[in-house]
């Protein structure tokens, strides 16, 4: 019987010839990532050794990544003290893939890992973050786990008792209209599947519209697969994956070309044609409450946010800059932009996008999770509405349960910043925003 990509990856990582959905395996881990919650992982890791008289020993410090991004720079003495403890732990244990709060090599973990070539096709990647699903864009099986589970990985180097997930195949064909793209595709898919439709399952993406999609776009669709409940999203490795790894991540050496068997077994097959797709908006307070833009256009917006692990990459910023160039953010609307990494920030600076944003009246913030999780930047006031390119619109997500968040693409966010209401980007030349 044929195997899906994830079945192949799990079989090999578990030392087996083949596995199928429902089997229980214990795969070896190629990369184990945490962010600030490494403070809790450290606590749980030491707890495992309590009463054993053994010295705690990391299974492989070269395969552990710690990226500060959730609350950077620290919003409180508590976070700062935890970050300090983590730095000391990193130094004492020679943890290799550590990215501190820096403007050159820092950033959001789901951009820092790919741009540094830490994730390869065929890898098993775990992280204490639900958006680990992003890294399926590079043909890896990447999924989120809790801090205690990570502590166990630190000690043992494998994930215990993993049930091989069933796979949903999504075939995407057609050509996106202007100003419609990967974000609209994944919002549309989440609307179809619902927030729990892919729970305990993997979404494997195929089709010509995926083949012609950049890695940046693939990171968007895999990133948000978790919003349909998926354990992971995955795009089988192809020429674009190899281009990205060689050219943008500087990966040398052999790249593993793990692709699904022709007779692989899928639990469900979904076909989508994107040619007629309009910009999609996820309305409060669930990500699967997705509507075409025409149903919500004109909604007043107090805060526009462009950035995050979903849509803070260079092509997202380029699109926003194109729409904002020479124009002004509407009075009464705030616009916040936070690039996904220091590297992207620097590229955007060189290309002049940052200047365009600031001249338009946007506030450009440092790379990090920032306003997306409502901890220390960009909180909303009572009764306020945000339109954001981030990935979640749960009640209270942007720091205030008495506010609303709509999710959209960078193009819609930029067009709406100019009007102060939810606005579809004009596709005709000379159109006024």
């Amino acid at each position: 019987m044929g195997m899906t990509v994830v079945e192949k990856i799990l079989a090999r990582a578990s030392g087996l010839n083949s596995v199928k959905a429902g089997d229980v395996v214990e795969p070896n881990v190629d990369l184990a990532m945490s962010h600030e919650n490494a403070a809790l992982v450290m606590n749980q890791y030491l707890e495992i050794y309590q009463g054993t008289e053994l010295m705690p020993k990391l299974w492989d410090p070269l395969k552990i990544g710690i990226i500060f991004d959730h609350r950077v720079p620290a919003e409180s003495p508590k976070t700062a003290s935890n970050q300090k403890k983590i730095r000391e732990f990193v130094a004492a244990n020679s943890i290799a893939k550590f990215h501190d709060i820096r403007g050159d090599v820092g950033g959001i973990c789901h951009q820092v890992l790919p741009e540094n070539g830490y994730v390869r096709p065929g890898d098993v990647v775990v992280g204490t973050d639900s958006h680990m699903t992003s890294h399926g864009a590079l043909g890896a099986f990447a999924f989120g786990i809790g801090a205690t589970e990570m502590a166990s990985v630190w000690a043992l180097g494998k994930v215990l008792n993993v049930e091989v997930p069933a796979t949903i195949q999504v075939n995407v064909k057609g050509t996106f209209k202007k100003f419609v793209g990967p974000k609209d595709l994944i919002l549309h898919l989440i609307g179809r599947l619902t927030a729990e439709g892919a729970n305990f399952k993997v979404i494997e993406f195929h089709g010509p519209a995926i083949k012609s999609m950049s890695t940046s776009g693939r990171l968007v669709i895999c990133n948000m697969s978790v919003e349909a409940g998926a354990t992971s999203g995955i795009v089988p490795v192809d020429d674009e994956t190899i281009r990205y790894l060689r050219k943008e991540s500087g990966v040398k050496g052999k790249i593993d070309l793990v692709t699904p068997d022709k007779d692989a077994v899928y639990e469900q097959v979904i076909n989508i044609n994107v040619s007629a797709l309009e910009p999609q908006i996820a309305c409060p307070h669930t990500v699967d409450n997705v509507k075409p833009i025409k149903e919500v256009k004109g909604t007043k917006v107090n805060q526009i946010v462009i950035g995050s692990c979903t849509n803070g990459r260079l092509d997202d910023l380029a699109l926003a800059a194109k729409i904002l160039k020479g124009k002004k953010v509407a009075q009464g609307t705030r616009m916040l932009i936070f690039p996904a990494s220091g590297r992207i920030f620097n590229q955007a600076l060189t290309k002049g996008y940052i200047g365009t944003f600031m001249k338009a009246g946007a506030v450009v913030m440092n790379s990090g999770c920032g306003p997306c999780l409502g901890v220390h930047e960009g909180a909303l006031g009572d009764g306020e509405v945000a339109l954001s390119t981030t990935n979640r619109n749960f009640k209270g997500r942007m720091g205030n349960p008495n506010s609303e968040v709509y999710l959209c693409s960078p193009a819609v966010a930029a067009a709406s910043a100019l009007t102060g209401v939810i606005t579809a980007p004009r596709t005709t030349k000379g159109g006024k925003h």
Binding site: L54, I145, E149, A155, E163, L373, V375, K395
Partner: protein, 166 residues
């Protein structure tokens, strides 16, 4: 006997269970104070210790969706609550098993605040209404971790076995 103390709807996210702005607090001994921080009535009762250990929170489908933050589980575990829901999001369920928070998947449960439930491995009996509802068992893969009392003691056994060369 377990008393239903609060009923919630579908898609209760970890942002509702444990808002992101308290994420700097990580230790299981400290997280319970922020359980359901934005539902003031429930948070207040929990903090005032008006709710007995073993009380039940009811959720709809996809309970615990969203972030992998383990605080959402340790905060509820701190009060020894039991969560009965139509189903659970994957990471929340795994975290619950790992930390020993009792979760019960019961797709057809009918119960309201104040009802008392009798929970067995196969069914939830609503002793107030007299109706019984079938339980979906935890994934087989995770049974050994439940039986060990959570992932820490389970991993401890494996670490010891590894040190002894088994």
């Amino acid at each position: 006997m377990a008393k239903v103390i609060y009923t919630l709807g579908d898609d209760i996210s970890t942002d509702i269970i444990y808002p992101g702005r308290y994420m700097a607090t990580v230790l299981p001994t400290e997280t319970p104070q922020f359980a359901f921080a934005d539902i003031q009535e429930l948070n207040g009762k929990l903090k005032a210790k008006q709710i007995l250990p073993g009380s039940v929170i009811i959720g709809g489908k996809n309970f615990g969706c969203g972030s992998s933050r383990e605080q959402a589980v340790s905060a509820l575990k701190g009060y020894e609550l039991i969560v009965v829901a139509k189903n659970f999001a994957r990471i929340f369920l795994q975290n619950s098993i790992n930390l020993g928070l009792q979760t019960v998947t019961c797709p057809n449960l009918e119960a309201v605040d104040g009802d008392t439930l009798e929970i067995t491995p196969t069914a939830v009996m609503n002793t107030t209404s007299g109706k019984s509802f079938q339980v979906v068992p935890l994934p087989n893969a995770r049974q050994a971790i439940v039986e060990a009392g959570g992932l820490i003691p389970y991993s401890r056994k494996l670490v010891l076995a590894k040190a002894q060369g088994n």
